[in-house]
């Protein structure tokens, strides 16, 4: 079947390969046969030239036919006309043709570059420099000092020009040494330099300060000038990713892109991150963007990608930007462009990065009271409500036989939590080699990354190997091929949150008197010779010795990933080309869990499991592109393409169930009761056809349009095929309106509208019945989700309006975007009463809207030869609203845990958190019970928090002086709140500093406890008309906190924290070794940087925790705080050497 489905693409490829060989065979004399015209294909192409035709006219005819450019001094050609009737055979060799054409003139030609020829006076060729002066020099990047290849160098007012070679050097024949040279290069500010009699001119070009005419990579890897885009994008270059390096490259984007939110999961090193662009929009899906590498969507994210190999990352924020990537791009797209080899001699570069990771413990522990309850010491207590720790001798807690009868001094251990953590590190070393001839360029890169987390034994090793070859196979045919391999192993990824195997849980809960040295002896052998856990409360149903958990609950994960791409592009003519491409992203994973006997609730009798998985996403596509100047002012680009996407996953797992036969021997066979399972992941095929293009008028107006039709295997036959369009317009006011003030160097407005459809998860159209083991012959269970035979694709509709203003030669820029998206007909499960025979059915419905503003301000307040100052400020505010869920349900619960339920609710922003709250009177006063503890809304829950932020902003600034540069990034999150389960448990345990107050009583709710609340107590009246008076009932800390905290029924309202915070996200100090030193070394460049990330909070509303850290990465994850690892600061050094 697979062969059959790919047959047509296969034949296309074969056809192209055959024709390539044919072309190559025809043109074995390389130098004379470079210029093969497209007209070769139809053999008879004669052009008659009438006498009196201007020579320039003939040259431009040839330019078009042969796809070349002629450079000449128009003054010299001003009155040159063809004297006699000529027949030009346009299928001939170009040089032959030029020889014939120019025979009658006093001109000859000279090849300047691959496709550029100079038309020179015949004598100058021999007798230079009679008329033309030779000027040489080199062009370098003003900031990095790196040579810039490919810079255009033109003589002002003429068509004479050249471009720099791979070393950044140029040589040019100028008519006069009084002329002016223009140096221009995409992404850099154009410079005009008067020659002023010199013959050598070196130039430093400054990168454009502002996203003015930056080149960005859009759909299908097409490069566009950002000014021509009808929607907003933002990009981050390689340096922003490699210097202040993160293990997960996505984390480096945090704070740098307006409207982007990055949260990290609490699984330690190598953990995933949750990225959301412009707000949550999917009721049951992920709301996360699509990742695209080198023009092709990939499987999953880029957390294991090597930042050294990334040229740039461009964030397409709205569905407008991403309409063309199809379904999965409805949440935006993160477009990664990897590096390619460059023409030139072999270039080696080596970079090394070492960062330390230091935990920042934010919880303030009390250090007065130790283990016990009600002030009485108990060696087996898991809470710290015991007596004051005054050095008195108490019984040792250890159940080990040789510890019986031992006593020790009862003293505070203020550092016992901190001592359980370690300073982690990330280290990475990269070697990159780039080389290339004119026709073949290659890049090879290898990176080894190695990291340890702040929790001992949490380690990561990662190898990234990548090779990329780009090649001009013939004049018309080019090849781009890539193979990347990644192998990553992570040891002891942290189980998250409430998992009893999560060491963080047990570290944070250490009673205040437990000595690190005692706890570190985490096991002992009992009288029966069995290995036992050394813990103060044996067989606890939730507690454990954290060192036991770290050393005796082990897991290993190994994954392999291959990313391969081959792409052929054939240029039929200079305006029509066809690309055919196939890209594979797949891999396998293996994981293993080992839990030793005596791990209490989760593995009292030991546990072992293994799981293996594999999967891939395979995209094959073609794109036929047409682009041409229709007239002098009008330009058209049009593309037609098609894509086949196949996604397959499967996994198998086995475990020893609830016992190991031989203790602590980890093998699947070592049990009486093997459990095994398979999972046919989520197979999906999507076939797509699309067309898109741009119509431009001068540089002033751009009109973008696109249409895409997907056919998805997961939808029922009638709704399987769906179409979605987009349209956008961008106009330059400075081009269109004359007389605007000079300070305004650019002004563009843009607007766009798009619809993106999305298909369903697999298997939603039929009801399945699954088999499981049990009984004599197995069990059979009908799926609890009812199928829906009428599923429709869901749809996101969005529009955005924006403006970009540039002032003072682009030194100051302001970009403004307003957007609104509605995601409708969402696919989600609606809960039905289980009594109906199923627990849910899959349906279409709902409407979630996001609207907001993004403002970017960029400025270069100082720009001089030695000193530069760049400043970027961004601000984004997103207003999220659940407009509708379904007819039957105004509220949908996404997830629940002991503390809270995560719900979406009609008329409320995404991210409602429900929990138990205080019982209140009609006036809103909290009703306190007779024991001084407020009454709780026991059976029902009330909204207590919402995690959607109000706005986010950041300030990024770079100061550079000569070879030194300093940059920093400060970001701020305003608003949003979460309910902390960690706090609920630590308060219940009497561990936090706040539990010191009122240990002997005297706490009055609404007064010296939760003083912000007004509290009353029932003093009489009837149940219908109760009478209340102000609460004065005293309560002690233990009674209070153990009543409202804890794991099973905590009162969420008491543990809500605000997520507002400001932090110094990044600080980098860079130093380039000066030229004077470099020249004496066998290297071409050396850069040293000192970097720090997440260094400190400038402001934090929440006392005990970092609100950016969360438990997992699912839809409810943003408010999901429960025993996440501590926030950590990283700092270190980075060195990069180019040879």
């Amino acid at each position: 079947m697979i062969m059959k489905r790919y047959k047509w693409i296969g034949s296309l490829i074969i056809l192209l390969v055959v024709s390539t060989q044919w072309t190559a065979a025809q043109n074995n004399q390389y130098d004379r046969n470079v210029y093969v015209s497209a007209t070769d294909w139809n053999n008879q192409n004669l052009q008659e030239i009438a006498p009196g035709t201007h020579l320039q006219e003939v040259l431009s005819l040839i330019e078009n036919e042969y796809n070349v450019n002629f450079l000449f001094d128009s003054k010299l050609l001003a009155d040159q006309y063809v004297s006699e009737h000529k027949v030009l055979y346009l299928n001939r060799d170009l040089f032959d043709l030029l020889d014939r054409l120019l025979a009658e003139f006093n001109f000859t030609y000279k090849k300047l570059t691959h496709r550029t020829l100079g038309i020179l006076p015949r004598d100058t060729e021999m007798k230079n420099p009679m008329n033309l002066e030779v000027v040489t020099g080199s062009v370098t990047d003003a900031q990095t000092g790196a040579p810039l290849p490919g810079v255009n160098v033109m003589v002002k007012g003429s068509t004479i020009g050249t471009s720099t070679d791979s070393q950044g050097s140029y040589e040019l024949n100028a008519p006069s040494l009084q002329d002016t040279l223009i140096f221009s290069f995409i992404g850099y500010q154009t410079q005009e330099v008067p020659i002023s009699g010199r013959t050598s001119i070196d130039v430093n070009l400054s990168p454009q300060a502002i996203a003015g005419d930056e080149v960005v990579v859009t759909a299908f890897g097409l490069e566009r000038e950002s000014s021509s885009l009808t929607y907003s994008t933002e990009s981050v270059d390689n340096e922003g990713l490699t210097e202040a390096r993160e293990l997960n490259v996505v984390n480096s984007l945090s704070g740098k892109v307006a409207g982007m939110q990055v949260n990290q999961a609490g699984t330690g090193v190598g953990g995933a991150s949750r990225v959301v662009l412009r707000g949550n929009r999917s009721i049951s899906g992920s709301s996360q963007p699509l990742y695209v590498v080198d023009g092709v969507p990939i499987r999953g994210d880029i957390s294991d990608m090597n930042p050294d190999n990334i040229e740039s990352i461009n964030v397409l924020k709205g569905p407008n930007a991403a309409a063309l990537y199809g379904s999965e791009a409805q949440n935006g797209a993160i477009v990664v462009t990897t590096r390619k080899g460059r023409e030139g001699e072999i270039d080696f570069s080596f970079s090394s990065n070492f960062m330390l990771r230091d935990p920042i413990l934010l919880t303030k522990y009390q250090n007065v009271y130790g283990q016990g309850t009600s002030g009485v010491y108990s060696p087996s207590s898991e809470s710290s409500w015991g007596p004051q720790m005054d050095g008195q001798m108490v019984d040792h807690w250890s159940p080990a036989p040789d510890m019986q009868g031992e006593q020790y001094a009862f003293n505070p251990q203020p550092n016992n939590v901190e001592e359980a953590f370690q300073t982690g590190y990330n280290s990475s070393n990269n070697l990159t080699a780039s080389m290339g001839s004119e026709n073949v360029q290659a890049l090879f890169s290898y990176t080894f990354t190695n990291a340890e987390g702040v929790v001992p034994k949490n380690e990561l090793d990662r190898h990234n190997i990548s090779a990329r070859v780009t090649s001009q196979l013939s004049d018309n045919l080019s090849l781009d091929s890539k193979l990347s391999y990644m192998r990553q192993s992570i040891d002891n990824q942290l189980p998250t949150g409430e998992s009893f195997a999560n060491p963080i849980r047990h570290i944070y809960r250490l009673p205040r008197n437990i000595r690190t040295a005692d706890a570190e002896m985490f096991d002992y052998t009992n009288s029966e010779g069995m290995l036992r856990q050394n813990y103060w409360n044996p067989l606890s149903n939730g507690g454990a010795n954290p060192y036991w958990t770290m050393n005796r609950n082990l897991n290993e994960n190994v994954s392999d990933r291959i990313n391969a791409l081959a792409s052929l592009t054939y240029d039929f003519t200079d305006y029509l080309s066809l690309m055919v491409r196939s890209a594979y992203d797949g891999g396998s994973g293996e994981s293993e869990f080992r839990r030793y006997n005596d791990t209490y609730v989760i593995a009292q009798n030991g546990y072992y499991s293994i799981a293996k998985s594999n999967g891939y996403e395979w995209n094959s596509d073609f794109l036929l592109s047409y682009n041409q100047d229709l007239t002098e002012d009008w330009y058209l680009e049009a593309n037609v393409g098609g894509n086949i996407k196949k996604e397959r996953n499967s996994s198998m797992s086995a475990n020893t169930n609830n016992a190991l036969t031989i203790p602590n021997f980890f093998a699947i066979s070592n049990t009486q009761n093997v459990a095994a399972g398979e999972n046919i992941g989520s197979p999906m095929d999507i076939y797509s056809a699309y067309a898109f293009g741009q119509l431009a008028w001068k540089d002033a107006i751009y009109l973008d349009f696109s249409g895409r039709n997907d056919v998805s295997s997961t939808l029922p036959e009638d709704n399987r095929s769906y179409f979605y369009p987009s349209v956008g317009l961008s106009a330059s006011l400075t081009e269109l309106i004359s007389g605007l003030p000079d300070v305004l160097s650019g002004a563009r407005v843009r607007g766009s509208w798009a619809k993106v459809g999305n298909s369903a998860p697999p298997f939603m159209t039929i009801r399945t019945a699954s088999l499981s083991s049990g009984g004599n012959n197995g069990f059979l269970q009908l799926d609890t989700t009812l199928p829906n035979e009428n599923l429709k694709p869901e749809e996101t509709e969005s529009y955005e309006l924006g403006a970009n203003l540039q002032f003072f030669e682009n030194r100051l820029g302001l970009d403004f975007t307003y957007y609104k998206t509605n995601t409708r007909d969402q696919l989600f499960q609606v809960a039905v009463p289980v009594g109906s025979g199923a627990s849910s059915f899959f349906t279409n419905g709902g409407d979630v809207s996001n609207k907001g503003y993004e403002i970017l301000l960029s400025a270069t307040p100082v720009q001089s030869r030695d000193f530069n100052w760049d400043l970027n400020v961004n601000y984004s505010a997103n207003d999220n609203m659940v407009e509708k869920i379904s007819e039957d349900q105004p509220i949908l619960t996404l997830a629940t845990d002991f503390l809270r339920a995560f719900r979406i609710e009609e008329g409320k922003p995404f991210g409602q958190v429900y929990s138990r709250g205080w019982e209140r009177t009609e006036d809103g006063d909290v009703i306190v019970g007779e024991n001084g503890v407020p009454q709780v809304t026991g059976g029902r829950t009330v909204p207590v928090a919402n995690f959607s932020p109000d706005w986010r902003g950041s300030i990024r600034s770079t100061l550079s002086y000569k070879n030194l540069s300093l940059s920093f990034l400060i970001d701020h999150r305003q608003g949003g709140s979460i309910a902390s389960l960690t706090n609920a448990i630590l308060f219940d345990d009497g561990l936090t500093k706040q539990t010191l107050n009122g240990r002997d009583g005297g706490l009055v709710f609404g007064d010296n406890l939760f003083g912000g609340e007004s509290a009353v107590m029932r003093t009489g009246g009837t149940d219908e008309n109760p009478e209340y008076s102000k609460n004065t009932q005293e309560v002690d800390a233990q009674t209070f906190w153990t009543s409202i905290g804890g794991r099973n029924t905590p009162v969420g309202e008491a543990f809500v924290v605000e997520a507002t915070n400001t932090r110094l996200r990044e600080l980098t100090l860079g130093y380039n070794l000066p030229e004077s030193v470099i020249s004496s070394l066998p290297i071409s460049n050396l850069k040293l940087s000192l970097v720090g990330r997440n260094l400190l909070f400038l402001y934090r509303a929440s006392e005990n925790l970092d609100p950016d850290l969360m438990t997992g990465t699912n839809a409810a994850a943003e408010g999901f705080e429960s025993f996440t690892p501590p926030s950590s600061r990283t700092f270190g050094a980075n060195i990069k050497i180019d040879f």
């Binding site: 309850t373 009600s374 067989l539 029509l576 056919v711 295997s713 997961t714 009801r767 699954s770 009908l782």
Partner: protein
């Protein structure tokens, strides 16, 4: 411009070609969108009926440890005072109703068992599999009566309506339908003596129709007794019908669910969690009676004899508060101080035997008959003889005691003793084992139910229902209650509706509240049959 036209034409035709190619290649989509490791519900055949029935049996009896804990362990086990909670956060032992637990308990049945049972009943009926249909009906009565005995009104007749609203039935309607259903099933079973339904997929009787018939009749007797106080006439009629149709006579007739390595007795998993220990009530009765079953039901406490009574089996009082200020007792180390459940119910690696799951035993049937005889119903024996036979059956089932030892026990004047604990708990009650032929009817009832309570262990769901119905055995007050509506001397009478029903089936649950004996969805509201 000619070439432009030509190229546009080329592009358009290519695009069309591609779309056509794609449209033609979607034949495999439906196959791709069907998981090949699962069956399709609409294509199931009679060959798969047995596995669906097996699933309904196992999950319907709460064989899965998670739902079992939420249903039985955290409620009936401690309300029947077989066990007391040692986990500090398990507030149900202090009368707190935790709705998220009830979700798990409710969904454990309606999600994993009821759909399969419904499927089996409908499929067998549509396909003329009358024997399978009759067995499934008996199973339905067994499974649903435990559900209604928890909540009262339940989803029953409208189960599986496929709607977004599913109405509840009142407990009275449900019970009355039970008797009708049993009539229907028994008629078929009687006509097929010696037959077999479901074969080895039936984990209770391996398909034996004769056994199912005896079980159906015994079940009728159990339910008849349950309605004794609310509908005495119905109770008498149904009970006498049951006995005359033939009930369980010895332990070979017991209804027990087979356990395997892959469908284990849930206690063998949850005893690993260390969250409950022997109750003071059990210590008082078993030690006072010098009951041979104690060594089967429990293990000596890890720390040995705590109270100095010379016996290493230790129980403690239900409802220990988290903060032990009043009592002056630490809440830590309870697991080592008190007796764990018997070795049979422990993990295999600790010597457990993965015992079958108790549904109904001959002992219970004799005690039911004894109670009927006490009422003067025709139960085929005197109350005393049936009572004593009940004890014999239980002893033979659970111990290796010789018949001399058993007879000595039956004749013993032993009474429960004080557990000699720090609360100075008195003896549970003063009734002896030996049947007080001259005692009041009520005292005889207490004897019957107290011995039934001991014989049912660990089938607490039945024991708790009978405790609520009769008030026996005379269990201890809880040490502490966190539920102001249920002070320490009072008991939880029912389980409030699950919170999931309030969000997913709101209208129906509001109507169901009106079907309660008083319109309040509280743990204090008595069930329909709770009318003594």
């Amino acid at each position: 411009m000619n070439s432009l036209k030509k190229n546009i034409l080329k592009m358009t035709s290519t695009g069309l070609l591609v779309i056509l190619l794609m449209a033609g290649c979607t034949d495999h989509f439906d196959e791709l969108n069907t998981p090949d490791d699962q069956l399709v519900a609409s294509n199931l055949e009679s060959a798969q009926l047995g596995q669906a029935f097996a699933q309904a049996q196992f999950y319907g009896l709460y064989g899965s440890p998670g739902p079992f804990q939420l249903m039985q362990s955290l409620h009936a086990d401690i309300y029947a005072q077989y066990f007391a909670t040692t986990a500090p956060n398990f507030d149900s032992d202090q009368n707190v109703m935790i709705r998220s637990w009830q979700n798990g308990a409710w969904n454990g049945f309606y999600g994993a068992a009821a759909p399969q049972l419904d499927f089996v009943e409908n499929f067998s009926e549509e396909n003329g599999m009358t024997l399978e249909n009759a067995v499934a009906k008996v199973m339905r009565v067994q499974l649903y009566h435990r559900i209604t005995d928890y909540w009262g009104p339940i989803i029953y007749s409208e189960f599986g309506n496929g709607e977004t609203k599913v109405p509840y039935d009142s407990q009275e309607d449900v019970y009355k339908d039970f008797f009708v259903t049993l009539d229907e099933a028994v008629a078929v079973l009687k006509n097929n003596a010696g037959g077999n339904a479901f074969g080895s997929n039936d984990q209770i009787y391996e398909g034996s129709v004769d056994q199912w018939l005896r079980f159906a009749n015994s079940l009728r007797l159990r339910l008849a007794m349950r309605v004794k106080y609310v509908e005495p006439e119905l109770a008498k009629t149904e009970a006498e019908k049951a006995v005359s149709d033939g009930v369980m006579m010895d332990n070979s007739h017991n209804a027990k669910l087979l356990t395997t390595q892959n469908s284990r007795n849930p206690y063998t998993t949850i005893t690993d969690w260390g969250e409950f220990r022997m109750s003071a009530a059990m210590e008082s009765a078993l030690e006072g009676y010098e009951d041979p079953r104690q060594a089967k039901y429990f293990q000596p406490a890890v720390n040995g004899d705590q109270d100095g009574d010379g016996n290493p089996y230790e129980g403690f009082r239900n409802g220990l508060p988290k903060t032990r200020k009043e009592s002056g007792v630490e809440d830590e180390g309870l697991n080592d101080r008190y007796s764990d459940m018997g070795i049979d119910w422990q993990n295999d690696s600790k010597g457990g035997s993965n015992p079958p799951i108790e549904i109904m035993n001959a002992a219970e049937v004799y005690f039911l008959r004894a109670e009927g005889a006490l009422e003067g119903w025709n139960m085929g024996g005197t109350a005393e003889a049936l009572y004593e036979e009940g004890i014999r059956m239980s002893m033979m089932e659970s111990t290796t005691a010789t018949s001399a030892e058993i007879e000595a026990y039956i004749e013993s004047g032993n009474t429960p003793k004080s557990p000699q604990d720090i609360w100075d708990s008195p003896a549970l009650t003063d009734i002896p084992v030996a049947f007080e032929s001259a005692g009041s009817k009520e005292r005889k009832l207490e004897q019957i139910i107290t011995q039934k309570w001991l014989a049912l262990y660990p089938n607490s769901m039945e024991a708790w229902a009978e405790y609520r119905r009769t008030g026996y055995p005379a269990l201890y007050d809880r040490i502490n209650s966190l539920n102001p509506a249920i002070p320490v001397g009072d008991d939880v009478q029912r389980i409030p509706f699950a919170s999931g029903e309030y969000s997913d089936n709101a209208e129906s649950v509001q109507n169901a509240i009106q079907l309660l004996t008083s319109p309040a969805d509280e743990a204090t509201t008595k069930l329909w049959w709770d009318a003594k």
